[in-house]
């Protein structure tokens, strides 16, 4: 451990001020914070709460139902990030659809889905585009590549989301946010700086390794002690204030803002992204004249409260009993980045 990281650790463990609530917005942060044992370092007065930054967890139940409809009713070959496969829909997950004969394939990148479409000209391929600003550029590149190649058998089912409006919905739920480093790598820091200046919301951009998380946490604790609203970029080696301009231009070319349903947070106006009219042929909802499909979440699941930091996963009645990573009831138990899955994996369960 370097001197600096030791100092950072001492700041955290030595904290003795007022109770603090710090929200790690990003699911990968939730997972890494558990993995490196950072929670165990924290004095009791610092409460770490998990936010809505796992794209799988905030994907609405209805989106899974839409994907199952495409797979089973329209016979589409569905390409998806693997995590989505076990997320429960109203009646079934994509794994359930697969058991009924649907062709569901996990891919690492939307660009791999374009290749699958090229290799299977007799099949209609749909990529399930979920994710924040970090992942949306890859979906836009896929749409651009498919259009350039004149592919007629590829489309996207979009549920892409943008972060700034979610922060607005979360104002007041924590003393400071740990902002998701890789979202800011794309968007830059202006939305977070504005939140600080206009609404007094404090936060730091954090990286993902042990030393990055420990130093970002120490900076947060120290600056909260001072009492003034603050914004600090603690991940300058990857995140520049201006973000990635080419990525922002790409998203602007291919997609436009739309209202979006977040699991737990409900409909947040203009917090989603959908394909522009020029890409209508690649929009699965339009291509297949999809009827409106409304999902019904399992009433036992408290993912909504977990995602807003209103309760801990362990406060959910079915946590670790009816709901486990093998048999998830809600989305937060599925992905490694989900708060319930991270609590389950790393907490001791009686």
């Amino acid at each position: 451990m370097t001197e600096s990281v030791k100092k950072a650790r001492d700041i955290i463990t030595g904290y003795s001020g007022r109770p603090l609530r710090i929200m790690e917005v990003c699911g990968t942060h939730t997972h890494e914070i558990f993995r490196i044992g950072l929670r165990k370092l924290l004095p009791e007065s610092i409460d770490l709460i998990s936010g809505p930054g796992c794209p799988v967890c905030v994907t609405a139940v209805g989106f899974i139902d839409e994907a199952c409809w495409l797979a089973l009713e329209k016979g589409c070959l569905i390409c998806t990030f693997g995590d989505l496969i076990r997320v429960p829909g109203t009646e079934m997950s994509l794994a359930g659809a697969r058991a009924k004969g649907a062709d569901i394939r996990p891919v690492y990148s939307p660009l791999d889905a374009v290749e699958i479409a090229k290799e299977n000209p007799d099949r209609q391929v749909v990529f399930l585009a979920v994710g924040f600003e970090t992942t949306t550029p890859s979906a836009c590149l896929a749409a651009e590549q498919a259009k350039a190649a004149g592919l007629k058998n590829f489309s996207l089912l979009t549920a892409n989301k943008t972060m700034p409006n979610a922060y607005n919905a979360l104002v007041g739920s924590a003393d400071a946010f740990l902002y998701p480093g890789h979202v800011n790598a794309i968007t830059g820091n202006s939305a977070c700086i504005k939140l600080c200046e206009e609404k007094g919301v404090s936060g730091v951009v954090a990286g993902f390794t042990a030393s990055e998380l420990i130093t970002a946490m120490a900076v947060t604790v120290r600056l909260l002690e001072k009492g003034e609203p603050f914004f600090r970029n603690c991940y300058t080696r990857v995140v520049k204030d201006e973000g990635n301009k080419s990525a922002m231009e790409l998203m602007e070319r291919v997609m436009e803002p739309c209202d979006s349903e977040w699991r737990g947070l409900g409909l947040i106006p203009m917090s989603g992204m959908k394909l522009r009219a020029e890409y209508a042929d690649y929009d699965a909802r339009l291509k297949y004249a999809m009827p409106e499909i409304k999902g019904r979440p399992n009433p036992a699941c408290r993912c909504g409260d977990v995602l807003q930091g209103k309760c801990k996963p362990s406060d959910c009645k079915v946590f670790g009993k009816g709901c486990t990573p093998l048999h998830p009831v809600g989305a937060c138990m599925v992905s490694d980045e989900g708060a319930c899955a991270a609590y389950y994996q790393y907490s001791e369960i009686e």
């Binding site: 600096s4 990281v5 100092k7 990635n244 980045e337």
Partner: protein, 69 residues
């Protein structure tokens, strides 16, 4: 699905970069990063290089802590 991968660029050609992540090589899109060169370190998400890594982790931690004290 959202886990970033840091990797070294081995080769760049026609918008595609070959990266080396701890010995594992793969092709990723270099479509949203201009001026990538072999030897650069990048952060990769879902098959796309999204940002250059411009500094060492330890150096950054030193700077942050110096600022605080």
């Amino acid at each position: 699905m959202c886990v970033g991968l840091s990797a070294r660029v081995v080769n760049v050609k026609d918008g595609t970069a070959v990266i080396d992540a701890s010995g594992a090589k793969r092709e990723v899109s270099a479509g949203i990063l201009e001026d990538l060169e072999p030897g650069d370190f990048v952060m990769v998400h879902a098959g796309v290089a999204i940002a250059k890594i411009t500094q060492d982790e330890a150096e950054e931690a030193d700077e942050l802590m110096e600022d605080l004290l």
